[in-house]
């Protein structure tokens, strides 16, 4: 086949002649099949329009079903009908031209000026909608024709297809006659090229009938034929068209003809678009609205988004994901069933022909599924033909072998919002039916294991495989281009585990230590009777030097640095953890300064190894130390409960005092606030303070050894606020940032349990119970009101940001950063930025968004100088 290139696409309006010219059959009868099930000639299934039933031949081209592309037919309409798609434009044209002579309602010189302006805009490839809008505005305002002097009457457009001149309704025939009168010279001013579209063509006199291949009928299990929605609609049109003809010939009263005409208009309108406002949609017998022409194209499920922009692919798989901390972050566990179905091509050469042959001859897992001959023929390899195929195998053939350990695949989770949503992993074929992934790569995919599914794609060429390995491998994405820090790192138990290991001076016996380290490839562990947790962690640490404040840091007013009494200041020298606790700040995804340092000093491969070892060590620690949480872990003693009770009681008293002061007029308004706002703010602050205090008390009694507290302070999961709400007090519920005020508007109260106008804390949604204690029915109601807002917010946010992302991608998809650092549009070569982001920095290679990490460079130079000095 000769490859062809499209230079341009031009859309035109079909003229009646054009419709007749391309038609192969005039359709006259609403019947489709005869009693024997054969298509009726002159019916909608006429075999001149193409064939869909196997066995029949097309009368136009002689092709069988599948060969014949289908051919258009046409219906001669008994009376002209408005095309809904052009109805609005018709209204504007009627108002813009003279009702007598059809000329544009504007002097010729003026018209020519506008035409010239439009021509200029087109030449510059610019939008000229505003000019046309202006022309329609000016011509509509004209009272008298400047050419023949006729008075103009405004034409009212009644959606979807009716036009009124005063009280008098214009028939489509009237409309068409008026449009016919508009001279070609006037059309460009309305933005219409007369060679492409004559306005009278916007009123249909002949209707194209799409080929049967466009509207195939399906045969139900019962053997009955079920026609396409378009066919149904066309049947309606032909039926009414025939009735109209018959009635007119019989000399029926004008009222009947008018009704039939309107019915014909209705059917044609809904045939073109069944979601036009102003008329009821045409329905199927079952009550389902018909899917007509516009509906086939429009929206997410339409031709554009579903069939053209969206593509389905082979060599892919999808299943539920589950965690496997024992595999590397760069691996993905693939169920054997899937591995046996997906294939990788081996392009046979003299050098690999023996290997390929072996795959063909195998009868178990990594075997060949298909071979492809150079002529393109694909042969399934089965027990009975494998020997023969292995014998015949030659260089140039392709052997499709099953997926096996070490193959590179692309792994993806929707929504694919950033480039880390599709990364390349190495295959590990595993039993069971789920994809397995290391929990450390959950953050870039935003995955969890509550039923999430992911997709897997097998690259089919060596180029694609190389590209995947070099550009898309997991370790290439440890640093995120979003903020220039690691997006892959420890989560949940990894952080709790290392916290338990490294906090304070915990000692581990030799046996314990070996248990922890045995699965990791650590060399040179000195033989000792006892090891500290910090030493054990140091064994997996590359030689880095680093100091930073840990997540557990209390933010003391004066940081004591190395001598921090909370063990919150981390000191690592030469790969030895000397001081401090390892937690989210050190190894967590998004924060992970240790990962950051390793990747900058030793590169991506080393960072990947560290994450693998770090996560495995953490899991081993947490399983051997034991870590669990239960309802009794948020239990606080009676004493604490009393203290909390006291705090809340005091706060409520203060609130009552504030309300009293407000009612007596003794409240001082804050600057720029009304009295009511001042009161509300004071109340919110008072109650917020009370909850925080309650939380502090609860935290004090829970103690630092409490697993929930450990998770919160180390950054593993949850926050002290979550704990406060569980153990002490849930606090104020809010809707739109205010206390809950809505309810019975007429009596100004939230619930009938309160007096009208009650501003007290209880009446406006303060929940003093804890989750553990449980909420009173009234509290529960307010909590549900506050919770609902959160749900609505997330639902609205995701849909809005999704749409925003679609538009952004559409706008930016053709931009590329060139090797000279400029950003250019790919098709026109237009420059967009002279330097990418003005500074030319790749954020993924930046230091947390900054171009240079000056501190680091200084530190390295100082170290170097020190070494020279020695």
């Amino acid at each position: 086949m000769i490859p062809k290139r499209l230079a341009a696409i031009k859309f035109e309006v079909l003229s009646p002649q054009e419709i007749r010219r391309m038609s192969v059959a005039k359709i006259v009868t609403p019947e489709t099949y005869d009693d024997d099930g054969f298509p009726i000639e002159g019916g909608l299934m006429d075999t001149r329009l193409g064939v869909i039933d196997p066995g029949l031949k097309c009368k136009t081209c002689g092709g069988k079903a599948g060969e014949c592309p289908g051919h258009f037919g046409h219906i001669e309409l008994a009376a002209p009908v408005i095309h809904v798609g052009y109805a609005k434009l018709i209204a504007r044209l009627l108002n813009g031209t003279c009702r007598e002579c059809g000329r544009i309602l504007m002097k010729d010189e003026r018209r020519d000026k506008f035409v010239e302006e439009i021509r200029k805009r087109i030449a510059m490839n610019q939008n000229y909608d505003d000019i046309i809008k202006e022309v329609f505005r000016l011509t509509k305002a004209a009272k008298k024709c400047p050419h023949c002097g006729a008075e103009q009457v405004e034409i009212k457009f009644d959606k979807p297809t009716f036009y009124y001149e005063g009280e008098h309704r214009l028939t489509p025939k009237d409309v068409r006659e008026r449009l016919e009168k508009i001279p070609n010279e006037d059309l460009p001013a309305f933005g219409i090229d007369p060679k492409i579209a004559r306005p009278e063509w916007f009123v249909l006199t002949v209707l194209p009938v799409p080929p049967v291949t466009v509207r195939p009928s399906i045969i139900l299990e019962t053997g009955q034929r079920s026609e396409d929605d378009l066919t149904h609609k066309l049947v309606d049109i032909i039926r009414i068209n025939q009735r109209f003809l018959e009635n007119r010939e019989a000399g029926a009263p004008p009222q009947i003809l008018e009704d039939l005409w309107e019915l014909l208009q209705y059917h044609i309108t809904t045939y073109l678009d069944n979601e036009v406002s102003g008329i009821p949609p045409a329905r199927h017998r079952s009550g389902r609205p018909l899917k007509t022409l516009a509906q086939r194209l429009k929206g997410k499920e339409g031709r554009f988004r579903k069939s053209l922009s969206g593509k389905r692919v082979n060599f892919s798989a999808r299943t539920v994901i589950s965690p496997d901390p024992a595999i590397s972050i760069s691996e993905v566990g693939v169920p054997k069933e899937i591995a046996e179905e997906l294939t990788v091509p081996i392009f046979v050469t003299p050098r690999n022909i023996e290997i390929a042959r072996e795959f063909i001859l195998r009868s178990e897992h990594p075997k060949a599924n298909y071979i492809v001959r150079p002529d393109g023929k694909r042969i399934r390899v089965i027990e009975s033909n494998k020997e023969e195929l292995a014998e015949k195998l030659e260089p140039g053939w392709i052997v499709e072998r099953q997926l096996m350990d070490g193959d590179i695949v692309l792994f993806n989770r929707q929504p694919s919002l950033h480039r880390m949503s599709i990364m390349a992993h190495y295959v590990r074929v595993l039993p069971y039916k789920t994809f397995r992934l290391n929990p450390a790569v959950c953050p870039p995919y935003n995955a969890d294991f509550d039923g999430d599914e992911m997709n897997l794609h097998v690259p089919q060429t060596l180029e694609a495989q190389a590209e995947a390995k070099i550009l898309m491998a997991v370790q290439e994405h440890i640093l995120s281009p979003r903020f220039g820090g690691p997006i892959i790192g420890g989560i949940h138990d990894h952080i709790s585990g290392l916290y338990l290991l490294t906090r304070g001076n915990k000692k581990f016996s030799r046996e314990e230590t070996i248990q922890l380290l045995r699965a990791l490839d650590v060399s040179e562990v000195p033989v000792k009777d006892e090891y500290t947790g910090k030493e054990i962690f140091s064994y997996i640490l590359p030689k880095i030097t680093l100091e930073f404040k840990a997540e557990v840091c209390q933010g003391c007013e004066f940081c004591k640095g190395e001598n921090c009494e909370y063990d919150a200041y981390v000191v690592i020298r030469n790969g030895q953890l000397l001081k401090g606790t390892i937690d989210e700040k050190a190894v967590g995804a998004f924060k992970g300064v240790i990962i950051d340092e390793i990747i900058r000093k030793y590169g991506k491969e080393e960072a990947k190894k560290f994450i693998d070892r770090m996560t495995q060590l953490a899991i081993r620690v947490i399983t051997s130390v034991g870590f669990t949480i239960g309802i009794d872990d948020i239990e606080i003693p009676k004493e604490a409960e009393e203290q909390i009770e006291e705090v809340i009681r005091n706060a409520e008293k203060k609130v009552d005092e504030l309300i009293k002061a407000y009612k007596e007029g003794n409240l001082e308004p804050m600057p720029g606030r009304s009295l009511e706002e001042t009161l509300e703010m004071n109340i919110m602050r008072e109650l917020g303070k009370a909850r925080d205090q309650a939380g502090k008390i609860a935290g004090r009694f829970l103690g630092d050894e409490n697993p929930a507290v450990i998770m919160a302070v180390s950054g593993a999961r949850g926050s002290m606020l979550n704990l406060t709400q569980m153990a002490a007090c849930i606090g104020q519920q809010s809707v739109r940032g205010e206390r809950i005020v809505r309810g019975y508007t007429y009596s100004n109260r939230t619930l009938p349990h309160f007096k009208p106008g009650d501003l007290g804390s209880k009446a406006r949604g303060f929940v003093r119970s804890s989750y553990k204690k449980g909420l009173s029915p009234i509290e529960f109601f307010f909590h549900a009101a506050g919770g609902r807002e959160g749900l609505v917010d997330t639902a609205v946010r995701t849909s809005q940001s999704g749409y925003l992302q679609r538009r952004m991608i559409n706008a930016l998809q053709d931009l590329k950063v060139e090797y000279d650092g400029t950003v250019r549009e790919q098709t026109s070569g237009v420059l967009v930025q002279y330097r990418f982001g003005e500074d030319g920095v790749d954020p993924a290679k930046s230091y947390r968004g900054k171009a240079v990490d000056v501190k680091r460079i200084l530190k390295e130079i100082i170290e170097e100088v020190k070494q020279y000095g020695e």
Partner: protein
Amino acid sequence: MKIRLQDHILVPKHEILSKEEAEELLKILGISKEQLPKIKASDPIVVEIGAKPGDIIKITRKSLTAGKSVFYRLVV
């Protein structure tokens, strides 16, 4: 009294490139004039510095990321 736009703190420096500078720029970027970003001849700042259609204007801005950034526009 007429206020000079260029004296305003938020208006970056606009200069007209000389013919040689303009040629040099297009040579470095390897593009034709039409592929440059554009600015209208009626733009107040263009009027003020007296640039004519076909001129290339050099705009030196303060940049959050780079400190200083240079941008060029073709007057149309």
